[in-house]
């Protein structure tokens, strides 16, 4: 890592740093000189609070010793707004991050990109849909941009990773440092994406995920997407912040319709009511991107056809998730027969259950 990049990393890592402050610091000229000026207690750059400037001085020495080292240890590169390696999609953005930390294949963001976001508390069906969508878009050569959060995000990434090696690599925009795995159970996929895709963060390595960082992350996620797809979301969820950021930038937002009774689809159904285009499969997204859909690989449903009783139960589940009791009520079958049929459908991959509720899975 050269001195210029190291200085950028240290400037971004200063305590109480913000995009606005960092932008002012970088406007002040060569980052190496600016850093030196902070370290020796020089005159504050115009527009910066002198007390903040003075408070930075004592931490420069430690940051110089640690931040570049962390970047190198995790193979993290630094890109400055307008510089080499900075994603072109962000250059013209009015709220673009002054400095970006990237880990992995920096060229991934130069492909066609679709943002996939959604709730962390997703239904089984929603998660299955996100996975299939991520998979099919990646196969079609479209890069899946998401936040690597629990629920929809991680499923979209997992789907994109499952695509063949010639598929587009996934891009994860994260709130914590590129080397700080959050949530911890995503350890494996985090490193898989660093390996064959790209992890992008505004925060320097080692930054813990704090609540204020997530809305900032969402703006980068929205800005990096050509089209934003919301798979499942509550009426007031983090995904809605991303939707608003996309709306500010006139990026088209698409939503996956859900059952009216499903709390996890409140937000997406509201988006549809507001005039967002619906997504029922990868084709809808590809059309929105203006890509030729005729060349996309058609998915063949390889699941064994269900029995007549299974088909009847499946028809009930397709309209909404049900408990065994609900299915008994709708079909009139005996409870134990329903349970047995559900067991078979589950083994064949038609349905999934969580906490006593059964959902039909997409093909």
């Amino acid at each position: 890592m050269n001195d210029h990049d190291a200085a950028l990393a240290v400037l971004a890592a200063l305590p109480r740093q913000s995009p606005a402050r960092l932008r002012r610091l970088l406007a002040g000229g060569d980052p190496c000189k600016t850093l030196q000026s902070i370290a020796v207690g020089g005159r504050a750059i115009a527009g910066l609070d002198p007390s903040v400037w003075a408070a930075w001085a004592p931490s420069v020495a430690t940051l110089r010793a640690t931040v570049p080292a962390k970047c190198e240890a995790a193979n993290i590169t630094v890109a400055v707004h307008g510089g080499d390696g900075y994603p072109p999609a962000l250059v013209g953005d009015p709220w673009a991050p002054p400095v970006l930390f990237m880990r992995g294949d920096a060229h991934a963001v130069r492909r066609r990109r679709v943002g996939i976001v959604g709730t962390r508390h997703a239904t089984r069906a929603g998660r299955a849909f996100a996975r299939v969508l991520g998979d099919e878009l990646a196969r079609a050569g479209v890069c899946v941009v998401s936040g690597l959060a629990r629920g929809i995000d991680v499923e979209a990434h997992a789907g994109a990773l499952a695509a063949d090696r010639d598929g587009a690599p996934p891009v994860a925009v994260v709130a914590s440092g590129c080397d700080t795995v959050y949530p911890p159970e995503h350890h494996r996929i985090w490193h898989d994406i660093a390996e064959c895709g790209l992890i992008v963060s505004e925060a320097p390595p080692g930054t813990a995920p704090t609540a204020r960082l997530f809305p900032l992350r969402n703006r980068i996620l929205a800005a990096l997407s050509e089209v934003l797809v919301v798979v499942e979301s509550r009426a007031r969820g983090g995904s809605m912040i991303t939707v608003r950021e996309a709306a500010k930038r006139a990026i088209p937002v698409m939503a996956v319709p859900g059952a009216p009774s499903s709390p996890a689809s409140e937000g997406t159904n509201l988006l549809l009511a507001d005039g967002c285009a619906p997504v029922t499969g990868a084709c809808d997204v590809l059309v929105a991107l203006g890509l030729d859909t005729s060349r996309t690989w058609a998915r063949i449903d390889t699941r064994v056809a269900p029995s007549s009783r299974g088909a009847e139960i499946l028809a009930v589940l397709r309209s909404a998730a049900q408990t065994v009791d609900g299915i008994v009520l709708a079909t009139g079958f005996a409870a134990l027969d329903v349970a047995v049929a559900l067991g078979r459908l589950e083994a064949q991959g038609w349905v999934a259950h969580a906490d006593g509720w059964w959902e039909a899975l997409p093909g």
């Binding site: 508390h121 069906a125 629990r150 159970e185 499903s262 065994v324 009791d325 409870a335 134990l336 006593g356």
Partner: protein, 547 residues
């Protein structure tokens, strides 16, 4: 200060016992008026009186020896008395004086040694009456031959009345060759034991009058052998929850332990409390044992209840409360009280881990052993364990509604994993009852109908292997639950795909046997039985414990 105290003491001596006694004679005049106070004739030194003490839930006959001799007036209890027995002195003295009987103003020694086994702490308040009678015999108020054929089991009130004792049923049952004198309140429980002649007496003066001759034993109502009103809530009240009802029936028919996972309001406790109603009625031995346990735990026992007991301890229950024990003497715990019936643990995750761990030995052996220094008490604990829990801390189960993080869910459910979870053969996940079911006027199947099917399935199992299917040992499983070719193939698929563990395989076969028994199917198990059993073994914590 010291001098002043001494002088006061000398000037104002402690009132003599006789004076105190006279005062009490006046107070308790209503008791004494009916029965004239006898005067002691000459001094006899020694008396031996039969009684019994409680060890766990079994009575053990003992002899209370009383010696009244020369020496400084005093009262000593020897032979490892417990707290209740040491207090007996004050109660016995007050009762005798209240009854107008003279307190021997001499040196009194009481021995409560329990014969060859002297290790356990003897006594308790139940020896009060025996001590009083011993004193009366020693002072020749009563003739020794009058009590040769009697045993005494009662606590004394300060007014001379006889009070009920904890564990009257097992205490009386321990005495086989004598008539048993108890308080009227204990008479019902005491007469449960076979071949026990019970004499109920209301107060000490009455007893003295009888034993001195001239008065007949007072009458007491003999209780019914079968208690009335031992009915429990009916399964017909439960609306909806068809699947859980079916699971409950299988659990009852095979004596399989069961866990229910569902949101608050799903009807978990309602279902569990209906379980005794569909279990087969208790036979004589089981009903007797249940009565002994309940009596030993201090409950009022009037007759033999035929309905299986149902215990639902709160999750704050202590270790001693659950398995038995307690300060001083060993009380039966919830596991013993639930013996031959149902032990329901609502909010199982909230129970102390040590309490849940302690259930393993009773589940394994059907008895619980509480060990103290020098004594091990064994009590019955053959119960059907039914547990209930929320699926996660927030308890919202609809898809997408739960906001708990995966780690919070894991922490919540991890308490169930491990050896205790292995015991649950039937695992059901309940959703909230559909509104359509709740408002429906159609009553569910009644307990009686289900109980008939359960009884039939139990008989088939008993005819085949002598035990319910849930208790079939591992070596017997191949004979009891053979699989036909189709079932074997299905099992192979489940095992190979990892959706069933090797351990689960054996447990599932027991439940499949019960499913077949309920359907009246004999011979090797078919695909449908195995699949039903697998459906009844829900995988409610994916990733934590494979089913």
């Amino acid at each position: 200060m010291t001098i002043a105290t001494t002088r006061t003491a000398r000037n104002d001596p402690v009132p003599s016992m006789r004076r105190t006694g006279d005062r009490f004679v006046v107070v308790a005049a209503h008791i004494t008026s009916e029965y004239p106070t006898p005067r002691p004739r000459k001094v006899r030194m020694y008396a031996a009186v039969s009684s019994s003490t409680l060890v766990g839930i079994t009575g053990r006959p003992i002899t209370v020896e009383v010696h009244v001799g020369q020496g400084l007036p005093g009262f000593t209890v020897v032979g490892q008395p417990d707290e209740g027995c040491r207090e007996a002195r004050d109660r016995v003295r007050a009762a005798m004086l209240s009854s107008g009987l003279e307190w021997p103003n001499r040196r009194v020694t009481v021995n409560v040694a329990t014969g060859e086994r002297r290790t356990d702490k003897g006594g308790g308040a139940s020896l009060d009456l025996a001590i009083a009678v011993g004193l009366l015999v020693s002072t020749e108020t009563i003739e020794a031959r009058q009590i040769e054929n009697l045993a005494f089991l009662a606590e004394l009130g300060l007014d001379g009345s006889l009070r009920a004792v904890r564990g009257a049923a097992p205490l009386a049952a321990a005495i086989t060759d004598k008539e048993v004198v108890v308080a009227p309140a204990s008479a019902g429980a005491a007469s449960l034991g076979a071949n026990v002649v019970v004499r109920a007496v209301s107060c000490l003066a009455e007893l003295v009058a009888v034993l001195r001759g001239g008065h007949r034993w007072p009458d007491h109502r003999a209780p019914e052998r079968c208690a009335a009103g031992d009915r429990c809530a009916d399964l017909a009240d439960v609306r909806g929850q068809q699947f859980a009802r079916a699971a409950l029936e299988v659990a009852a028919a095979g004596a399989h332990h069961m866990v229910m996972v569902g949101p608050p309001g799903a009807g978990k406790s309602m279902l569990a409390s209906r379980l005794p109603g569909i279990l087969p009625p208790l036979d004589d031995a089981a009903a007797f044992e249940c009565a002994m346990v309940r009596s030993a735990a201090g409950e009022d026992v009037e007759g033999l209840a035929r309905t299986a007991p149902y215990r639902a301890p709160h999750h704050s229950v202590s270790l001693a409360g659950m398995v038995g024990g307690g300060g001083g003497r060993v009380h039966p715990g919830e596991v013993s009280l639930a013996s031959h019936g149902v032990l329901f643990l609502d909010e199982m995750g909230e129970f102390a881990p040590s309490v849940l761990d302690a259930l393993r030995q009773p589940l394994e052996e059907g008895v619980v052993r509480v060990s103290r220094s020098g004594i091990a008490v064994e009590m019955p604990a053959r119960f059907l364990l039914v547990a209930a829990t929320n699926p996660c801390p927030c308890g919202r189960s609809e898809p997408g509604a739960c906001r708990c993080t995966p780690s919070a869910r894991q922490r919540y459910l991890r308490r169930f994993s491990g050896p205790l979870l292995d015991r649950f053969d039937v695992r059901v996940v309940l959703g909230r009852t559909a509104g359509e079911h709740l408002t429906s006027l159609e009553a569910g199947e009644s307990s009686a109908t289900v109980a008939d099917r359960v009884q039939r399935a139990r008989e088939i199992a008993r005819g085949r292997q002598g035990t319910p299917n849930g208790a079939v040992p591992a070596w017997m499983i191949d004979d009891v639950a053979p699989l036909d070719a189709g079932a074997l193939a299905r099992m192979r698929v489940l095992l190979d795909s990892g959706s069933l563990s090797g351990r689960g395989f054996h447990r599932v076969r027991r439940v499949a046997r019960t499913v077949a028994d309920l359907a009246g199917h004999e011979g090797p198990l078919g695909v449908e039985h195995v699949e039903t059993a697998v459906a009844l073994r829900a995988d409610f914590m994916p990733g934590l414990d494979p089913r």
